[in-house]
Symmetry: C2
Subunit: 384 residues, 2 copies
Amino acid sequence: MRDVAVIGVGITKFGELWEKSLRDIFVESALKAIDDCGVKKIDSMYIGNFSGGLFVGQEHLGSLLADYLGCTPIPATRVESACASGALAFKQAFIDVASGYSDIVLAGGVEKMTDVDTGEATYGLAAAADREYEAFQGVTFPGLYALIARRHMYEYGTTREQLAKVAVKNHKNGARNPHAQFPFEVSLDQVLNSTLVADPLRLLDCSPISDGAASVIICPADRAKEFTDKPVKIIGVGQATDTITLASRDDITTLKATVEAGKRAYEMAGIKPEDIDLAEVHDCFTIAEICAMEDLGFVKKGEGGKAVEEGLTEIDGKIPINPSGGLKSKGHPVGATGIAQVVEVVTQLRGEAGERQVKNAKIGLTHNLGGSGGSVVVHILEVM
Amino acid sequence: MRDVAVIGVGITKFGELWEKSLRDIFVESALKAIDDCGVKKIDSMYIGNFSGGLFVGQEHLGSLLADYLGCTPIPATRVESACASGALAFKQAFIDVASGYSDIVLAGGVEKMTDVDTGEATYGLAAAADREYEAFQGVTFPGLYALIARRHMYEYGTTREQLAKVAVKNHKNGARNPHAQFPFEVSLDQVLNSTLVADPLRLLDCSPISDGAASVIICPADRAKEFTDKPVKIIGVGQATDTITLASRDDITTLKATVEAGKRAYEMAGIKPEDIDLAEVHDCFTIAEICAMEDLGFVKKGEGGKAVEEGLTEIDGKIPINPSGGLKSKGHPVGATGIAQVVEVVTQLRGEAGERQVKNAKIGLTHNLGGSGGSVVVHILEVM
């Protein structure tokens, strides 16, 4: 397999983008990524999208988006793995280049979720759970993550305040990210007193419903310097699955797919969790960030809440997590999230993250999760 | 890139499988493919599925199907490219093995379309067209292919009878396929007098709405003999896109994505159209088979209708097309179709196709098309 590097990145503003359609925002992000590295020709495209079908009545995004980007007849492939669709597009693009089948490949992610009402969006999102054994019985994602949170509190003494501090920290970071949907700070009191959604999770524990798109361009590492002075190498790639239903798992506080995908990525990169300088992890709910920190090995099992409380995950902490603001503050256009994480890590490793820059960042990790942990994709990137 | 071979195949009965769910039929096909070659362990899975979201309210099929097949935590990736989703899963599986990232990979395709009523199925299928510029304006696929048919008749003198003969030939073949949804013959008169759907296309020019699943297992070619006496090598892989709307094309009788994907596959295989012993092509409507024959170079442009009339595409003809019965008689569970085509070609190349066996078949081609030709995937397989 060939070494592969990221040479260009592009991202739209995340938010309620009612004046733009799915195709518009994808093309906007793709053109930014193309401008960023100046490639003249793309060999192939991968698009991460969760449910164009349920959110905008549109599938067949490979053809649609290659068409609107003006690059037919190149191969264009849409991949889906619930909220991990973006990272999966990045992984498939990586394999395409690593194999030698293609050279210059665009990996994009896009979701347009606000063209339907909240009820329809909730129905759509529940397609990432087991429709027959979870959604049809009335449990949607806030409920599933509330179960994880309650059990984590019971097993490890994680507190309601520790959960809230994840949101406070991520909003602090997101306030420094011009692409964030909610670029403002929130106080501990605001989180603790926000509307109860699914006990113990409150409104400000939950990532929002969002529109947005992100794109990156990759190529063989030995050609990267043709296009950029600051290439970033993909050194670790890991993907794993777990049971789709939470009820089928032995222990709902450990997301096995995160553990397994992380293990594969660390092994491929030949590094350990302590070598990571920053991580973008999948904080769809505040509890999810705590589980991810533990399952990726940044802290011991059960010590995630304490680590947040002690400030270890702040931008200037021992292991900065979600400097972008995470899904919580930056927004969570489902299919775009995994690519947006890569955009943030590349921006950080290039030293271009401005007010939210992590100092001396050389190695970064992305963790993108689908459903309640039924699938996870982890990538590790390093300055070349 | 490593050479890659197909070692196992499995397929369900196609039809209205009301007593089984999407997960059931996928697992049935996967277990058959596993039994067929006796692999003990799968490294990775790719699932082709068009719209689990719109047809059964279920996305996140990678996790769901890995779970139900009992093979978590392996990576499982769902890919979508409208009616070409199955072949795209096969292509991604090929790249995964060719790259050296994985060894034993399952590529499956599945669609469950009869759990919704015909109106909902039509709405779902229209998600493969451009929702904004085609479906919302009232044109669905029978209408789009009717435009292609009418123009083909105008440009090349293709006759109504020639279209009908595609259906007659495919039903003749499908009557010899135990997995076919409609395993019976139809007469020329029956086709010509069936209900008018979209002039000039009649009911018996159209492939049906179907449930079904198919799976194949691939591995590095140099390991294939560990698992089977009759491995089949993947020698050509081509994928291409075109504009998603028919209205954007210069010439609607030539499907450029077929021409381009075919060209790429032939180049990779180092062969020409005349070297192909049999082909499974995407006959979603009778006119589509005629276009495919021409665009893949089996006959000159405009001579497809005549070739059918002269019997060149019969099982004992010069270039046997759709010995399985094609989408027309075998059925068209959208995401499964591309894999089902591979199952048929492998079965033929192994000499195991019984009454529908093409004599001395050494090289076979599959042609899987999405939408009205917005995406196409072509594979060429050869006896090892």
